[in-house]
């Protein structure tokens, strides 16, 4: 069942004297429960594609539908609301709110959704336990290691019960052990909780673990490889 449908997606940056085509008629369908890595060299359009899928940027032309909603037609505040309820974000630099504890960071998303205090506190603790941070719930980001911060970011991404999680280079700032632990966690969430993950990455470890690898080059899909461990049969 198609979760993300992209058709003839083109993005041209024309802010400068020389327009740059970042994405050129990209077509892609991501099914539910996929564990997909978008890879490619720098400047291939990975981040642009992720930004457009996440509704953080607008395409120049083409269609992008998430859960059958054409998100390019949503106005700014509607888009923010759509992101809140449908998309979980994990950033390369973790990007937690530094003044909040781990629990408050996770709770904050649920607060934006209007969930009651008791419910969000309970769920935040559950999510942090699920990412093996049950004993660090009252620590602030500065008191956590990079790997722990990224785990909090994953818990935060899951707090809104999104349709899928977009992760932009999630392991780029982590050492091998921590990166593998994080990938274990995300894979577990994918398997056990049926959570769809879409990554952009350079990291061979992520690529190795991905069920599907979409390779971008010069703004076009060069290769779309589905691994044996994938739940998706064909694209």
């Amino acid at each position: 069942m198609a979760l993300i449908e992209i058709k003839d997606l083109t993005k041209i940056y024309d802010d400068n004297a020389f327009p740059v085509t970042a994405l050129n008629k990209v077509n892609l369908v991501v099914e539910k429960e996929e564990f997909t890595a978008i890879v490619g060299p720098s400047g291939s359009g990975k981040t642009t594609l992720l930004n457009i899928i996440g509704g953080l940027d607008k395409q120049t032309s083409g269609i992008i539908k998430i859960n059958n909603t054409d998100i390019s037609k949503l106005k700014t505040d509607k888009m923010i609301d759509f992101r809140l309820h449908n998309i979980g974000f994990v950033f390369q630099a973790y990007n937690l709110i530094p003044v909040f504890t781990a629990k408050e960071n996770v709770e904050f998303i649920m607060l934006l959704q209007g969930i009651s205090k008791e419910e969000r506190e309970k769920k935040a603790v559950e999510l942090l336990q699920a990412v093996d941070l049950g004993d660090r719930i009252d620590n602030r980001p500065t008191e956590l290691s990079g790997g722990q911060q990224q785990r909090v970011a994953v818990a935060r991404a899951l707090a809104s019960q999104p349709s899928f999680v977009l992760a932009d280079e999630p392991t780029a700032n982590l050492d091998s052990v921590t990166a593998n632990n994080l990938l274990d966690l995300m894979e577990k969430l994918n398997k056990e909780h049926k959570m769809t993950f879409v990554f952009s990455t350079h990291d061979a470890r992520v690529i190795e673990r991905a069920h599907r690898v979409v390779t971008l080059r010069d703004g076009r899909i060069e290769k779309d490889e589905i691994r044996q461990n994938s739940k998706v049969n064909a694209t």
Partner: protein, 405 residues
Amino acid sequence: MLIALAWKNIWRNKKRSLIILTAITLGIWAGLFSVAVMIGSWDTTVNSTIDRNLSHLQIHTKAFKDDNLISNYIPNGPVLADNIRKLPQVKDVSARVLIEGMASSPGSSGGANIIGVDPEHEKNVTTIANYIIDGEYFSGIKRNPILVGAKLADKLGLKLRSKVVLSFQNIDTTLTYAAFRVAGIFRTESSMFDGSNVFVKQSDLYKVMNNDRIVSEIAVRLKSSNDLDSTLSQLRGMYPSLVIESWKQLAPELELTYQFMIVELEIFLGIIMAALLFGITNTMLMSVMDRVREFGVLLAVGMKRMRVFFLILFETAILSFFGGIIGMMLGSFTIWYFSDKGIDLSLFTEGFSAWGMPSILYPALPLSFYGILTSMIILTAIIASIYPSVKTIKLRPADAIRTYG
């Protein structure tokens, strides 16, 4: 949680927040204190003018107002003064004889306003008795005592017990001379007043004039200045043929000074507000620019733009609230301290006394001003945060997240 986030954000950069807090505190403190000094100085000047000689209300004949001759006296003046004295809101009444004449000493002479008063009633109406710097208030001299202003005494070379000859045109136009002896020398806040006025007993003057019915001016002192306008209307109704004026009409320059002071205040407060406005805008803008990536993340994960807007507004509002409280407390304390001790301006007394201003100022601020000023400054602070807030909600999350800082 939004307020909690705003509160926590404030203390992320303590130095910067303390700068804003200090700016707001100082703004409110300076605003309150300067307004209190201005209002206090005006109050002191007005009270001093009322106390010195004007009193609250004065009654004259229209002819006297046009030409202050002794012949233009108030008909039945003594009876009229007695009647007004009986009004419940009236503290006392001084029926005065005013004559323009000459004062001469063995060495010199000069023009003088001769004011004939009943010492007991005058004491209740003005505070001239308190301004005696040498001698006593109409005592110590048995026959024809006179009180002379310090500046006039200097000019004429008069000392205590010196003889002064007053000359003036009597009601029958004959030139009349009378000898007085200095019982007291007074110095008020107004050197102009001290250089031109002498006080004598009305009874002594009547003897010289050979007439005991002349009253040129009736000065009315009220128990409360709140009754000024109602008493003015009442007296005008009672004595329509006479000119009855309050101190505001008698000393229009005071009203003018008040208007001028209000304009000055508005300009001064405007400058404080503008400085505060630009200062806070600049600091909040720096605070926001430091957190561009964080705001980008908040917008990306689903925080609505209005919430981001209010988050920044809350941060400023919280700082303004505490700055407001501290500033108000500091301002109130400073005003309270100086309203009791006074601000000694004796270094500038010469300059001030030419304007009839006292050398000690007592700051005073009506209660309503505290609220008005504090609200104005808090409002200014909140307005100052609008530009940084608007700039933030216009951020594109995709660009903001890529910002490092």
